[in-house]
Symmetry: C2
Subunit: 345 residues, 2 copies
DNA sequence: GTGAAAGCGCTAACAT
DNA sequence: ATGTTAGCGCTTTCAC
């Protein structure tokens, strides 16, 4: 049994010595930088392979880049976010960049801890998905490191933005239900207290889209919004409230698939059937919605595209930190399934 | 509009100057190291607060620790893993350590990339959840950095291990179904080719547990295993095959909840009902299983406990890299729900 | 208990 | 095109 003495890590000096060149030369090859002849490159690469050298990102970061992109996801459990993540990693797979994720964070305090941790670890760029932090914090982050905010509508000169058009998405659902013949279409929203967030967050936009669409269809009188939260419990509570109405809605537009789950649970508990007694629609087109026995009508946000665009903007900004900030808005699509049908009345 | 010139980051030198002490002193305070008087500590802390100083983890890593723990999850989409993650982060919340996750990786190549990236970024410790990499790779990783492997049964002197007793878990399900009166209990497993993994991976242990339990109950003749994969599609395909049997099983033990989802989908498609025509059980006790309208009998792995134990072992090993390696095995519990009932024949 | 000074592994100026 | 040298921000000897 030999003692598990970890052999000192191979450094750039070892490579330089082995290849009989300077460390600068090795560094240039590593970064594909200008000023190294093809022969030099070949010689260095061979030495790197022979010694199994890998640069230490922390050391690189002290002078240049760490080749690390940080992604902050608000909730690992929400099955929509992996789509965005796939777009990000897929786009970065052929580059030298490595993606690391912050652990699920709910609330401003957690977000601050994660964003600061990422900055302190010298990350080259950040992708923040649906952050709840106040705008000034985001701008402070973006000042420290190139940042793209995904899924939040407010725009800032400090960072780039990628969003889905949530107003349009909500209109898709309302239009779909109205076309089926529904008039009493209720909406369950995520209650927002913060004034900035009540404009910038997707949930607020969806609620707004619902209102706009109802009015446009002349259904002003039928507008019925319940404020709970974007959780399964929130959906359950909201549905309980709606089912207790003297005149029940014939359709419910839940602001997220996870909310629709709670609605379905409450409906099942009340001994009612979907879509026979009540049509239910969600938002996000999660795997849950696609699941056969559930078959929930939903809105697809093209998460992969969002991730791809976020990376594109981020790499652009890493290359040129002074370019004017951009905002990309993607169009959602309706995914009708069996949870919505004509009302039976 | 002021130009977004990022003001140079506050360094340990600034703090030292501001507090009128040496950088060594500041460093000692940061690390709660020996050799600083209470007055010194107070003075330094005040300077840190006043300047809003945060140490640069990358720079710290070059000499000491980065205070970063890397967690590698095989698949973000599997709703079981967040439990483990919560255990890890919950345990680390009050420490100086920060958790960063590797993005979902399927396959050895991806795992190698992520583990190497974590090592190269100077992480102080790694938690690898259900890795599929060959043992030698894991041991190489563990030689470079303290490592805990979670959810994989093989044990190694190089790393610590935390697992659920999957054999016992499978026995819980089989015992439960048998107690309900089932005899033709089929199992859908994840097909394993690699010889090491066919011993070490949880899926293999569950299949083994199924076989052992069936034999112990004298149901040798009824043993019926279908090999697909731990995916929804795998469950769907497996169920198709089982439903096509001349004599159908009365119960199916799917190796994971996600597999059970596929089974439910196939059963619904065949116009059969659960548990009327077929009892279905899963494994992992995911939120999906707990969802009211589904109500899937499952096995709870105490993921939070697994994460907690992993962190405990990891911190121990960071403190003493030479302590003998440990293996913690946790006991799963049965969570009976409405997807299993007496057979109707 | 305190501080000066020497690195950690790498990149960026600056020679040559 | 190549090599020399001076740091990046911290921790760690090792003096005092």
């Amino acid at each position: 049994m030999e003692p598990p003495v970890s052999p000192r890590r191979v450094t750039i000096v070892d490579v330089a010595r082995h290849a009989q060149v300077s460390t600068t030369a090795v560094s240039k090859v590593l970064r594909n930088a200008y000023g190294a002849s093809p022969e030099m490159r070949a010689k260095v690469r061979r030495a790197i392979d022979e010694l199994g050298y890998r640069p230490l990102a922390a050391a690189r970061g002290l002078r240049g880049q760490t080749y690390t992109i940080g992604v902050m996801l608000p909730d690992i459990r929400n099955p929509f976010f992996p789509e965005i993540l796939d777009g990000v990693t897929g786009c970065l797979a052929d580059t030298d960049y490595q993606v690391l994720l912050g652990p699920g964070c709910n609330g401003e305090k957690e977000e601050a801890r994660v964003t600061e941790a990422m900055i302190d670890r010298g990350m080259d760029g950040l992708v923040l998905v649906a952050p709840v932090s106040p705008r000034p914090h985001l701008e402070r982050v973006a000042t420290a490191v190139p940042t793209v905010v995904v899924g939040r509508h407010g725009h800032s000169p400090a960072y780039d933005t990628v969003t889905d058009d949530d107003v349009a998405g909500a209109a898709l659902i309302v239009g779909h239900l109205a076309a089926l013949g529904h008039r009493r279409i209720a909406h369950i929203e995520h209650h927002e207290t913060d004034p900035t967030r009540s404009v910038e967050m997707p949930n607020a936009q969806r609620a707004d889209g619902y209102l706009q669409a109802m009015r446009k269809l002349g259904l002003d009188e039928e507008i019925d919004v319940v404020s709970t939260s974007y959780t399964q419990q929130g959906g359950y509570d909201g549905a309980k409230e709606l089912l207790a109405r003297p005149v029940r809605p014939t359709a419910v537009f839940a602001g997220a698939d996870i909310v629709a789950m709670g609605v379905l649970e409450a409906v099942a508990e009340a001994g009612l059937s979907v879509p026979g007694d009540l049509s239910v629609a969600g938002y996000d087109n999660t795997t849950f919605a696609a699941f056969g026995p559930i078959s929930l009508t939903s809105v697809d946000q093209a998460g992969y595209e969002m991730g791809k665009n976020a990376v594109r903007l981020l790499l652009e900004r890493i290359a040129d930190r002074d370019r004017p900030s951009a905002k990309v808005t993607l169009s959602p699509t309706l995914v009708p399934r069996r949870s919505t049908a004509q009302p039976s009345y």
